[in-house]
Symmetry: C2
Subunit: 308 residues, 2 copies
Amino acid sequence: MKKVTVHAPGTVANLVCGFDILGLALNEPNDIMELTLIDEPVVRIINRDQYNLPTEPEKNVAGVVLLSILEKTGNKFGFEVTIEKHIKPGSGIGSSAASAAGAAVGAGLLLDSAFSTDELVQFAMNGEKLASGVKHADNIAPCILGGVSLIRCIHPLDIVRVDAPDLHVTVVHPQIEVRTSDARQILREKIYLKDAIKQWGNIAGLVTGFIKGDYDLIGRSLEDVIIEPLRSLLIPGFDEVKKGCKEAGALGGGISGSGPSVFMLSKDRNTALEVEKVMKEVYTRIGIEFHTYVTTINKEGVKAVVSQ
Amino acid sequence: MKKVTVHAPGTVANLVCGFDILGLALNEPNDIMELTLIDEPVVRIINRDQYNLPTEPEKNVAGVVLLSILEKTGNKFGFEVTIEKHIKPGSGIGSSAASAAGAAVGAGLLLDSAFSTDELVQFAMNGEKLASGVKHADNIAPCILGGVSLIRCIHPLDIVRVDAPDLHVTVVHPQIEVRTSDARQILREKIYLKDAIKQWGNIAGLVTGFIKGDYDLIGRSLEDVIIEPLRSLLIPGFDEVKKGCKEAGALGGGISGSGPSVFMLSKDRNTALEVEKVMKEVYTRIGIEFHTYVTTINKEGVKAVVSQ
């Protein structure tokens, strides 16, 4: 029986000044999923981790993605999916996007690559809708494509792959809960034009820095004057971590997704490890449990192996 | 006696979604200036055009730039400058920036290249301050550097040269007056975050399109959801011109600077000429006098020749 084994990577969305439009894929952690086609037109979910996520497909992120694919293809067959999550739900590094993108890519391969990348992203966004109430693509796109993805426009969908030089990414996940509703409510509906101008200078600088491989420009452009000043209030230790990491040599960074994880970009692995030390020191002192990753940008996105 | 002859090009600032941060230089029109050093520590201005601009240096754009250079260098000598303007003041294609940038570059060469590019931009911004009340650099920087300039940050000044593919630029200057105060007052102090997100998706897309030479991406990204809907109200025929030019094959475009000129980018000269026809047709029908330019991006910026 045809089977697809999928590794779906964690991702960093809302990339500093690129709120809602820019994300990157990480080489670690990865969710592992196995998908098979079944005769019955249903979605069967088997969890192989400790997170007790729902197994009713319409309540499960991977489930709703697979249901949307079944609906699109006329309910002629079904999917069984085994999910082993390593990206903790609620961590802010694209846990739901990995489930959604992994399911979409895996199903597409079982159906002999029936879908374009844009279609896979569209299917996977149904999972984001379930998880956060909003169809957004800045985790999904880098998860599927790898590297740095720009969502120039969400409707109609326009995804642009942005080249980036080698970068080391340090992530700390302080084990606190930031409720999506709080992260959203803290934002203002309106912002100052003068702040928006600073932000679009920075996003243009960041993208130029990525494409040109200009690390200094990347560092100067990693500044968010609109979202971070508000959302960072929900993350204990944020200012201290950011300051310490930059002193340790990080190019810069910020909140991953809507938090609580915080990420920093560095030019080399040694700096990324020094940055990790700072993160560990701050959260140990504050007394909040945490988990760290020191990794690099994943340039291929979801990896999938088909076996018979 | 050492003399510098300067050709200072017109520029398009506020490049659609790049309000206040992105500008490009044109190959036409150009102001022509001649500068010489004089013994007396004063600035002497001689106009050789029909615009009757002030000759008191503190009321003249080139004059204040040269005065700021004299002040910086200790008032040990002076400048005489002859100005032949071809870029009509108030046209929106960087007339004041050409005077200011031309004066700064010319003076720098007379002083044996005593200043860095950033210093030249800083001196020249004194001219913009006189002309519009605000020190902005998105005309000055492309005028001096050529090509497309990103002003990532104005304070501290951070200018980034953005590579761009060959582009043909069609400009129409409808001979109406848009007062800077009106163009400024019509803007709102606050904007919707959701509009700002669209804008930073587009500016990131535009810069990526320029650097990659991706004409389709440039075209899709040439969209301004914040400034243009307001300022275009001050330019009769704007919507019609824009629609017609895009139908004629232009990649896109918008208001040049704060208007009234309107510019369009095209991939080839034939399209740029078709675009010019549309512009001429609209303003002839509306009954507003106009002037058009069909040109290309100036990649070198201010040209200066030193003679003894």
